[in-house]
Structures are given as C-alpha cells and as structure tokens.
Symmetry: D3
Subunit: 325 residues, 6 copies
C-alpha cells in the first residue's frame, strides 16, 4: 500500500505522488525565486521549499497540480517539513486526479444526505419544514461539497454537511434528555445555521472569501435567503415562527463579538450555539491529537485560545502503575 | 404665556395641563396602590407619585391622557420631581391634544423632507438612488414621525428623520473636505442606516420593541428590505454596488460588540459610523447641559460611559478675570 | 387537590400551608420590625412582607417552619409577591414536614444511585474506578441530598446528583459520537467534578458556604480528597492516570477567571467543561421559561449574562399563519 | 517627467534619484553586513536590501543622503520592494536637496498660516486668544514643519499644521450645525491640542522621541507651556477659562487608556476628541486606498485595529450592472 | 470614660455628644422631610434618619454641628445604624469643638514633620532636594492637615502626610534591600506624589473636589507646580533629573486607565506605584477588619474589587486545635 | 582576571571558555544544519549561530558542555550576539565544571538557610511552625538549589530560596510598620508560597515543566503537600489555622486569571501577593538595567507588560545642570 505523508518518520526518505495544495512564489534573501509549497494527501499537509525556482518551475508547479516528489521528511522548530530533492509533474498513466489527494468527510455524500433527511422528517412545524427543504434544494451541491471552514475545524470536502450532521446527532441527544426543548426548531436551525458559508466561500477547493462574504458575512447571507424563500413559498416573514427561526441562525455565534447581530434570546438558539462550539472544539482536538505521539502535547490550537493538549501515554484500558508494585 | 414644567423653580407651586407620559400602577410598602407617573410637556418630563390610588384613579389616569395638575416642584436626591396635591382629567374646552405636549424635532416634517430630498438628488449612482427612493417611499410616514431611539438621543417625535438630516449635513462637510470620499455612497448609507428602527420599534409614542426588533434587530431588518427592494427593482443584489451599500448599513455600529455583524471595511462605512456617534453624542450632551445651571455639572449620561459634563459659568464671550485686576 | 403557590393568579386570594424558607427580621422606615419572608412549596418560592412584627411573631415565624397563610397573590414591579393577611403556625394534625414543601430532583435517590452505578461500571481503568467508588462511598449521603448550587441551577434537594447524571447522559452521547473520546475518563471526571460542593456548602437546606468553601473552594477541596484516597488505596498519586483525573476536576470551570487553577489541556477535560455549562444553562432556561407565559419573556437570568429568553406563543406543532390565508 | 517610486509596475526596471530615508546596518545570516534601506520620494517609501555592504558602502549610504539607483520593482509577500542592482551617491549637478524627495502637506506653509489665522480671529475670548497667539509664536517654526506623528497619519513635513487645519474646518461645520457649541473654545483647543508634539519629537526628519516625550508625553508637555504662558501674560491659571482650555488639551485622547489623564467632561473637549479621531482615520484610509487597486483590499492598518479596507471597483458614478442586462 | 459610637452593642441605648458629619434633607415616601444623618466621633461614623423634620430642625441640624443624641444602636441589613429618639444642639459648657470628634492620623503634626524631614535629608541630589523643600514649604499647612482621599484609605485629618510617611518607611526598607535603587529619587517622588491633592480637594473637612481637581486632576496639578518651582529656583526643567522626577509623579498610578498619562518607565517610579498601592490596601483592610468580629467577614471593600476579608477567630498565638485532642 | 561575556564591547574579539546553555539543531535556508547556541557564564547569556554544522559538531556541541570559543561580539537588531570563528570542546586541564559558568544566588546556601531559620523561629503558631519545618525538610535540597522560574525573575540556581528570603525581609518591614499584621502567618505563607515549584519544574538546570506541573500546577501541588503534612503530623486539616495557611498559598497569585483558584480574602494573603510581585518586578528591572548603558533604555521586559525602562545618565549624586550656568 502507498505510504502517506504522515506515515514517514523524521529523516526518512520520501518518494511518491502528492497534490500541490499551495505553491506561492517568493523572493529569497539571495534575490532568487523560490516556491513555498504545501504538499497534500489524504493524511494531511506538510510544507516544503523549492529553492532557486526557474521561470519554467514557477509555470509548472502550480497549486492544484499533482507531482512526483523525492525528498526527505525533516523537522523545523517542532513542525514537520519536507526537504525537496527532486520534483516533477506526473506523466500519463500516473495519478492526476485531485480528488484522490484531498481529505474527505468520513461519510459519503449519499449517506450524509439520507441521514440528514431523517432529521428533516422530524421538523414537524410545516413552514420550518418547507423553508429547510427549499434551501436544502437550492444549495444542495455546495452544501454537500464545501468545507465547514477555510481552516480550523472540518476544513475538508464535505465538511459543512458532516459538521451539520454531527450537531444534529448531539441535538437529538439533548432533545431526548430535556423534554421542553423544541426538537423541530433545534433541527431546523441546525441545518440552516452555516448554510450561508456556501455563499461566503468561493468553493470546496482553494477556498477564498467572496466579496459578499467579506462585506456581508455568512450569517446575514443565509438570513436573507430565508426571507426570499418566504416570499417564494408565500410564508409571512413577520410571523413568529419565521422570526424565531431566523433568530436561531442570527444568534448562533453566541456573542456579538463573534459576529452575531443578536445574542441568543430563545432557548434553542442558545443550545444550537453551544452544540456548534462543542462539535467544532472536539473536531479540532481530535485532529491535533491524532498527529501527536502518546505522552506528548499537540501543537497549539489557535482557535482554542492557543492551548495545546496532552495526549496521555496510557489510554486507561490498562491500569496506571500501582504505587506498591 | 403658559409656564412649562421646567420653568418652575424648586418649591414653587405648579398648576397647569400636562400629558401623562407613563402612569404605572404599583403597590406601596403599606399595601396600597399608587401611580408612578411621568408628567410631560414640550420642555421635558418630570416624575411624581400619586399615593393611595383608588380603582377609579387607576382607571382615569392612564398613560396618554392629558390632566390638570396642582402640586409643587421638589428635588429628590438631585433629581426634580412633582409633589401632587390634586389631579383631574381635563374638561371640555380644556387642552386634550397629545401633540401639544409632546417634544418635536426642531424642524417640521415638510422642511425635513425637502432638505432630505436635496441630498437624495446628489446620490448619483442610479441603483443606490432607486433603492433609497423606494425605501423612503415605503417607510415614509414612520420615517418622519418616529424617534431615533426609545431614550438617550433624539427620543422625540420626528427624531429619526432629524438625526438622519444632521448626519447628512456633517457628511456634506466631510465630503467637501476630503475629495476621495464617495459622496453618493455616504449619503445613501446615511439615509438608510437607521430606517430599520421603524420596524424595530412599535411607534412614535409609548414606544416599545417589537418581537422582530428583539429577535432580529434594526440592522438586519433594513438590510432584508434592501434585498427585497432589489428584487422589486430588478437590481442584482450580488452586484458590488449593492453589497457595498448593504455593508454601509450592516457595519454602521462600528464594533461587533455594538451589534454590527461586520466591522467597517469600506472607508465611507467607517465615516458613517463616526458621524452617527458624533451626532448622537452632541445631542445627548446638549440636552443635558440645557437642564444644568452654569457653573454646575449635568447628571451622568448613561450612554456616554456615565460621564457628567461641566457647564462653564462663563461662555467665553466675556474675559476670564485677569490676575492683576 | 391542594393548590400550589404558582397556581394562584394575580389578585387571587391565597390560603394554605407553606414552608418559611427565609424569614429575616428588618427595621421598617417607621422604626418597627417586619419579617422579609420567602414562602416555599414544591412549585417554587414567592416573597412577602409581614409588617409590624411583634417579638412573639419574630420568635414564632422562623425559617424552616411550616405555617398556615391567608393572603393574596400580587405583582410588584414584575415579580410575584404575597400580600399577607393572616399567618399562624400549624396545629397538630396539620402539615409539619419540611420535606413536603421542598423542591426535589425529578428522580428519587434510589433511581439516581442505580443509574449512576451503571456509569461507574463503564469506568474500565481500575484506579479511576477505585477512586470514584471510594469517594462515592465517603460522600454518599451528601452527594445524593445536596443541591448543585445555592441558587441558579439545580438549587433543589438532590440537585447535585441529578446534575451529575444529566452530564453523564450527555457524555454518553458524546462518547458514542466521537470514537476517540476516552469514555472512562470522561465518566470518572463527571462524577467527581462537583463532589467538593458537599464540603463547600453547609447542607441541603438553608445552605451557606463553609469557611473551607470560602478560603479553599470546592475545586481544590475535592482534589485533596482524591490525593487522600490515593494514599488509602495505595495508588501512586504522581502516576499519569491520577494526574489526568485530577486535571479533569481542576480544569472543569474552563477559564482561570472562573476559578480553575489550570485551563483544560486534556480533550476530555474540555468536553466535561462544555457539558457542565450546557446542562446548567438548559436547566436555568427551562426553569425560567416554565414561569413565563407563552408569547412573553422570562425574567433576566443573572448567570447567563443577564439575558432574558422569549417563550414563543406557538410551540411549532401548529403551523405559523400563512401569509395568504 | 520623472517617474516616481510608485509609478513603477512590479518587475519593471527602476532607474532614478531617491532619498535614503533609512539605511540600517545589519548582519546577514552569512555573517556579512547589509543595509536595510527605505527609498523615498514624494510618492511614498519602498524598502530594499543592499547585500554584502563594504565598510565604504556603509560610510557612503547613510540616511538623509540622495542616491542614484538602478534596480527592479518586486513584490515580497504582498509588499512592494526594490531589488538593487547598482547604487551610487549623486554627482555635482545632480539632485541633492532632501526637500525635493520628502512628502509635504498638500498646502504650503504660507497658505496654512493664513487660514489658521482666520480661525484664531474667531477666538473671541481674550485670554484664550492671547494664550493661543503666544504659543503659536513660540512654537511657530516647529508647528509648521513637523509631522503630526512618526508614522500612521499625517507623517509628512507640515503634517502637524495640516492636521490641525483639517480639524478646524470640521470644527467649523460642527459649530455651524450645533448652536450651543462654544466655537471659540473648540478652535482654541484644536489649535493647541497636538502642539506638544513639537517637544515630544526630535524634528521634522528622521524623527525620534525625546526623553521628555517618553517620560512626560506631549499632552502634559503642552499643558505646562499653557501654565507658563499664563504666568508671562499675567493670566490667573486657576480661572475657569484657563482650566477649561487646559482640560480641552488634557482630555483630547478621549480615554484614559489612550494617555489622557482625564476623560472629557466639557462638551467641546468630547467633540475635539471625536474630530481628532475622525481626521486621523480618514487620512490613514485615504493613504492606504490610494496605494490599492480598485477591486482589491488595502494592507491592514495597524492603528485602525488592523482592519483592511475594500476599494470598490466602481466609484458609483457609473451604474452597477442591472440584473437583467 | 465616655463611650464611643462603636463601643455600643446592637440594641443598646445610646446617649452622648456627636458630630453631624452629613445631614442631608430628603423627602420621605409620605411627602414629609427627613434628615439623612451621619453621626461621627473618633471611633468612626454611623448613619441614622431623623424623621418628620420641621423647618426649624432642618435649620438647626446642619453638617458640622455637634449635637446631643438619645437613641439606640440597631442593625439594618448588616450595617450598623442609629435609631434616633431625641436630638438637640449642645448648650453652653457642653462640647462644641469639631476637632474633638474628627478622626486624626495616629501621629501628631510635629512628629510627622520631624520624621519627614529626616527623609528629606537623605535626598542627596541637590535639585530634587530644593524642589521638594520648596513645595513642602508652599503647601505646608494643607499637606499636614488634608486627608489622603475623600473616602477609602486615610480619609482622616492628617491622612495625606501620614500616608506619605508610611510609604517613605516602606521605601527605606526597599532601598536597604535592593542596592541599585536610587534612594534619593524614591524619597523625592514619594513626598511629592500626592501633594496635588491639596489643590484637587477643597479642604480637610467636608471635602469636595475643586474644579481644577475635576478638569485637571491632582497628578497634573502638582506636575505644573514642579515646573513653576524650577522657574523660581532657576533649575532647567528640561534637565534629565527634573524629567525623571516629574515622571515619578506622573506615572505613580501605574496604569493609564488609573489616570497616569504615562506608565512607569523608570525603576523607582514602578516601585513608588507598588508601595503606594500596598500602603493604601493595608490601611483599607486594617480599618475594615477593626470593625469586624473575630471569625466573621468584613464588609465588601469597594476599592479592592469589592472583596471582603475574613478576620480569623484565632490570632495564631494560640495553637489550632490538634486533631487528636 | 578572565573577561566575562558581558565585559566585551561590540566588535571586540572574544576568546575564552563558556558553557553551552542551549545548542539546538536547525535547518538553514540553504538546507544545511546549524546550531542555535546560547553561550553562558556568570555574567549572563548571549546567543550565537554555528553554521554548516557537521554530524560530529552536532554530536560534540551539546547543551551542558563547556567549550573554548574564538569569535567576535556583535549587535543584531539591538541584541548582543556572538559571531563564532572557532569552537572546540575543552581539553584536560581546562575548565569543565558546569557550576563555574552558571549564575548563582548572591548568597551561598548556608547563609540563606541560616537566615531562613531565623524567620521560621518567629512563626509562633505551633502548627504553622510544624508544617513549615516539615516541608522545608522534605524539599530541602530542591528548595535551596532550584531557580524561582524558568525565565523572567530569579532564573538562577538558588533563586527560589533567595526570592523567598527577599520576600521575608520585606514582610518583616511590613509587619514592623503595620501592627495588626499577623507576622507568623505572613512568614509561614511566604516560605511555602512557591515551594510547589520544586515539583512543577524538572530541576535546577535545563529546566522544563513536569506533567504534574502542567496538569496540576505549583499552587495546588504544594497545597496537597500541606494536607499530607497535616495527616502525618496529626493536625486537623479543617482547623481554621490550616485553612488560613492554605489560603495564603492558594491565593498568592492575587487574581484568578493568574492561576489562583481563590482571590485573597485574608489580609496577610493580599500582602504576600503584593510583596511577591514587588520582589519579582524589582529583580527583573535590576537585571535589565544592569545590561543597559546609562542614558539608554533597557530591552522590553515581557513579564512587565512589555515595558522598557530608562536608565538615567546621572545617578543623582551629582547635581543636574542648573539653568543659568
């Protein structure tokens, strides 16, 4: 089986096919050009520098292309990096498909869609149900292919839908435990809460923010689509049920300083915010811990106040060493 | 000429017609009902307590009614109040019209509308112009009659339009001084920035917040109306000009913690925010200073970090006393 | 069936047996003594004032006694209160048992203990299991009878155990959803996290903070008991498994400013903190919403940044009114 | 006409005369010296590195000298820079005058002085007028030649006087709009507010902070000069008019955390603070936007919370693209 | 010996002569006037209310007068208060002197002056020594009679000088321990640091803030006196020694948000700030603890973030109870 | 006498024996390895880079070894550094002892122990005395050899004991000045406050944080040792005296956000916190000032909010230049 980027040990020679996720041209201190590269496969990304790049190298090695690499895995100030010995574009018959090298959600689209529909089925308030179905149809392709964020958590193809599903599952547990929670409202809000990211971001790969994303933001962008959906579905957009649903989305960042124009003032809005943060946090921690050795600390996670996390040496299925033995 | 509320000195007997702005029923420590009243005329408001209120008193003395009062102006812990001797509803032939007792903008509606139109005329970008005219028509009556806020600044009938005009005049001075400022954009944003308050608030008198106001907020409420206006006017709501205009409104609170979902990232949006704050601050200071004697401090202004302001004894048109004289 | 305190409408006469939860002697403005009382039954608490209290009244009406009350339910500035007409101690044959009037966890102790044990059973790491069993035994009675807090959330008899159980159920959902989560660690931490409150607080009724609670705090108080348990069980308290378990408790307030001496640096500690906040928030919202009418707002909840919450008029099982109909 | 620094495109050869604004000697990674240079002309500044500098190069290429440069304009991580091919000091007959290469206020000194005097003329309070004239005379040369700041806004020769004038023009607009504003006080405060920078900074070129600037600060430095002026002019420095004027200067940073020892407690002091910030912000945004292409974002502006600003592609004098066309 | 205010127990009858520290006229809920009084003697202050005050009572019982009181010591919500039975002005031959009832520094003026001079003697830098002597002479009477603050710490006659002395003694300990500390600079700064309070406050009794105090503040007020002193003593006020001394005073609040226009950037300025806070804190804690019973908590101290402090039951000269005994 | 690292001037050749405090292997931009070194002797540390390191160099030049260096002292962006010409391990007969090159506390261990014991002698409360002696014995060696911190203040061998002693001396001055301070409690708390650092840190040299240090922290680590000591000494750990002593240690960081689980609520705990900060600040300032020339600023001190400090040119034993001369 082919070795993945993160299978190589420090100082081990690396040889194989990888995707150029980024390949930025820069000027070195000696005045020559070099390429600052991120190599990617489904195990993650590692950076490397291609020194003394000729104009032809710059032309060939562009982001989004698949290359064949010979090099060595090294460590630079605690972070993994690739020392490049040789690099070339792939030939005919060699891997070319970007999709092979890109990380995906751990479920396929069909399975995600099916599970999502089972939740839609439980949105018993008819107008919420119609709005959700309308927008799921309208943004179908982007919703199931976009990442949930440019970086940080769920930054992989299908991440947006997968993040939504995880929240729905937690929402189910909460609605089962606390009988006064309005399950239909919580599900409807969960499905729509981040859908505006399909307008805010440019696409599933090489993602950037759109002008609408920068000047309006994903929270307001999807809110306006709910209003438009109401017009098309002939639903009164000043009805309490619609205002409450919109509030779910508008308030889901929890705090004004995180970009919500209103704080949660409906119980289910507060819960949606909490579950959104919980799922995002766990995904970031799990990803970092997977790259750390047992008995060591992860790198610092920027979006969690720069904290690092300890991965215990023992997973607790074996006893800690008793004092006396 | 009739004496106004603020014309009476401390301990002077008060007699005249006033509006009951608020008249809240409460239970006194002795178990009897009393009315916590705010008397109002065009000079401002002063509170008073009507003790031992019978059921008929409660029925008669409701907010929004005009009464005849005999009492005395007093001072309670630094704040003016009315001690009530006698109070009755007005008879036929006596004043009844609420409008006579309510504070108004210092210009009449016609003059405000005319001046506003002269600014609209300078919005040279055609789609901004059409959107502004469309919404000015749609919200015409509320826009020219609502206050700009429930309390704090411009809390009087017509205050919203007057606040808008003041900002436009300052905007003109700024656009004259700084040639790179986009005058049309600044004017269009200024006119629309607070128009959502006509949806957020219940009306010009006895103002409360609507459910939409609480759950969505005036910033997003008017943003959605811009989107709807684009649909009706067949303007592409993803065009740069529309996104930039919406950004003007969305960003005008300046900071996320003040309820804007995005911070200003367009020069004119930053300027609009600054002028909005400048006009509101000056109005609050002017109002407070008008109620303070020269050589004393105003009450603390909550919306200005609780600061009080010193009203100098001398207005500077006379010389300060020279040392030697 | 007997009417409960919260069954009475405003202005309805009240007659029945209630517990005096608090009965504080104060001096009225007229120089006479009065009692500031909180009446309690299982539906909640309402305050009232007993004016002109004689020395004998003060002697009779002490906190913790059951009385017979004739009065009226009123409203004082938005809060319910009781106007007292007549009050006397109960006679023989009338209710006397404090337990009848005190709010309880919605499960009985036996059921809670049984469910808790099923979670202990899944703590597969032997030393965690022994420490948890040891401390559950040591603090058994207090753990199942104390509230989780003096006020705010779960402020009822058995609240501490019930809060712990709710977190455990959420923890199960999380461990089921995220396979890398260490279930045993999460369960062990959840069970111990608030057990120090049995030392910090004086008891299940008329709860105050102990000196140890004020000077040391419940987080460190239970941490030291873990250390002592290790000594008795001959477990090395410097072993990784013990340090990680102690970290779960020490870090569970999440932020240093909330009193944790360390922030979470182990994934399960972060999750425990999140679930603790989630359960506390939902309980506070549910309690407040239960006391608010549909279509109105709750009182402001101090521990949730003073926010109030809207209780929708329609629960969403019926459709919102469609625009056209 | 000679090409300016910012006229060159990326990768275009550069040849011409420029001022060395900074030329700092550093040690390269290879142990050799190099010069970190800022080239300047009236269009702005661009950095470049002179590698392998000999002792004679270090001696020749000092800050403040004019040189002849052959090089190429490049881009390094989003910022413009110059790659140096050849550099020499200028010969006889070639440009030598520093003044030709330094950015200036957009008005000449005479015009600025004349306009400033017209504002002084409106300071009708005699002692304010005398103090202002006294200090304008005392600091005349520095006031009209210094920048308003080392970097950020108005960092050019004459910037201090120009910034003062801009504030005065805005102050005129405010005093015209709000009749209760004390025009004389506002003008006097505006003229003096930053005059202490002539003591805080070392001079108009190669500006550094003086010891007095670091240990006392420009706010207190000019305050003490007002006190000294009063002594010389035999004005009582405890008179209300003097205290209020000093307060204008002391409070003009608005917040204690920005270095004002008191917050504004006089209306005109609050307005001066607001106008000072408004002018500084607009100047920073205008400068950055002038260097950004239409349809792109400026660099992040440190003094505006690190925000970048979008320069719209269309200036709004042409219509946005209508949906249907 | 005469009993002092704080010698009376709760519910004990009070009879004696006291000073009316404050006597504010207010309107009771029943519409009649009453006096809100603070009684004072050298043991502290306790409040009381004089109900149904006639116009003659208001005329007689003014702040600053000595009265004879019959009443009872009570407790109102945890704070001591006096219930007034009878009150009259003093007759001839009875105590009249305000000084007898006012709290004083625990040393007399002569002793404080003598000890202060011994510190001045160690200011070996001649200009610092001359400036300090000059200002000590200029403000002599106020310096030795004013309190250090209106309330909070050292709010008694002579408090300013006593606070200064306490800091000097701590400064001596620091200078003895850390040999690199400049003793002369630290002493000079300590003596001058709060001298501006003699200009900021109206006087030693019934203290209010002056206009100069509100608009300029004590830090800048004394700084300007140092500058004036330099002029009279013909010392260059731009010399390093003077700038450093002024920096000591300007920076002594430590943080900009506490009103220092510059933060400490000289070691002795940082130390002065720390000792100033240390002495103020200890004085506030000592005063509060003196009023609390052993084994209880003090009231909350506003200026120490609202914390209360525990006064241990045992002072530690006896053993804590051993476990086994 | 041998020249020390900080005795060399910029550009002066350096030759001598030094300790390699750190020697980290890194990859240069050219792909070759280099060593990032910190040279150390008793005058401090200076960094340098050893380029093109062979595998043997990496093997030889490890942290903790003594080497012979030929190089030059340079300046890199304001910080001193060593340019390395030649470097070799020491031969027989040349210095090898790490102890010769490491900074030490300015007192020897014996003297520190003796002085410390004199303070222990004044802890008159018997249980505090027993606990202090018990733990001083238990941690004797580490307590007298560890630094007080990895970096920042007292980061030298014996620093922990020396820091403790400095606080004790200041504590003596405070207890002498303020008679209500409990001297025994203050001394006991001072001695124990940082003792947990002997568990938190790995050792006196090449110090890292232990797992217990990261997951539990030195404050709780020593608190648990007090509890264990009580068990061994048969002292009731719930007695007031023990709770108060534990509170001294738990609260000594002063603020929750600095890691104390409780804020100081006992007077002596507040004082201990203040003295701890005072001593740490003075040590940091003294160390930085010793490395700055008179008339210049120190580097910025991270732990003091990044402030730099001015070292005056004149120490004040000579007069500042008088104006007239």
């Amino acid at each position: 089986m082919t070795k993945k980027l993160f299978d190589y040990q420090v100082d081990e020679p690396v040889e194989g096919f990888f995707l150029l996720k980024d390949a930025e041209v820069r000027i070195a201190k000696n005045g020559k050009k070099f390429l600052a590269i991120n190599f990617q496969d489904t195990s993650g990304e590692i950076s490397g520098k291609f020194w003394d790049a000729s104009d032809q190298d710059v032309e060939s090695f562009q982001a989004g292309r698949v290359i064949h690499l010979k090099g060595k895995r090294e460590n630079y100030q605690g972070n993994p990096q690739i020392k490049i010995f040789q690099m070339r574009l792939t030939h005919d018959g060699e891997p070319k498909e970007v999709q092979q090298f890109v990380e995906h959600a751990p479920m396929n689209t069909g399975a995600m869609e099916e599970e999502l529909n089972s939740f839609v089925f439980e949105i018993t308030e008819p107008n919420w149900n119609r709005i959700v179905r309308h927008l799921l149809t309208q943004y179908h392709d982007a919703f199931f292919s976009y990442p949930a964020a440019k970086k940080n958590h769920h930054a992989f193809a299908g991440g947006l839908a997968f993040h939504t599903l995880s929240i729905l599952r937690l929402a189910k547990a909460v609605a089962d435990e606390y009988p006064h929670v309005n399950r239909a409202l919580l599900y409807a809000g969960a499905i729509l809460h981040d859908m505006g990211k399909t307008i805010e971001m440019s696409g599933p790969v090489a993602t950037t923010y759109t002008l609408a994303g920068n000047l309006v933001g994903h929270i307001v962008l999807i809110d306006e689509q709910i209003v438009k959906a109401c017009q098309q579905l002939k639903i009164d957009d000043q009805a309490e049920a619609v205002l409450v649903l919109r509030h779910m989305i508008l308030a889901h960042h929890g705090l004004l300083e995180y970009g919500s124009p209103v704080r949660p003032h409906v119980m289910e809005a507060e819960i949606l915010h909490d579950l959104d943060e919980l799922d995002a946090s766990i995904m970031m921690m799990q990803t970092s811990i997977a790259h750390a050795e047992p008995g060591t600390y992860t790198e610092r996670i920027f979006a969690m106040d720069g904290r690092n996390f300890y991965r215990p040496e023992h997973d607790g299925t074996k006893a800690a060493d008793p004092k006396e033995s």
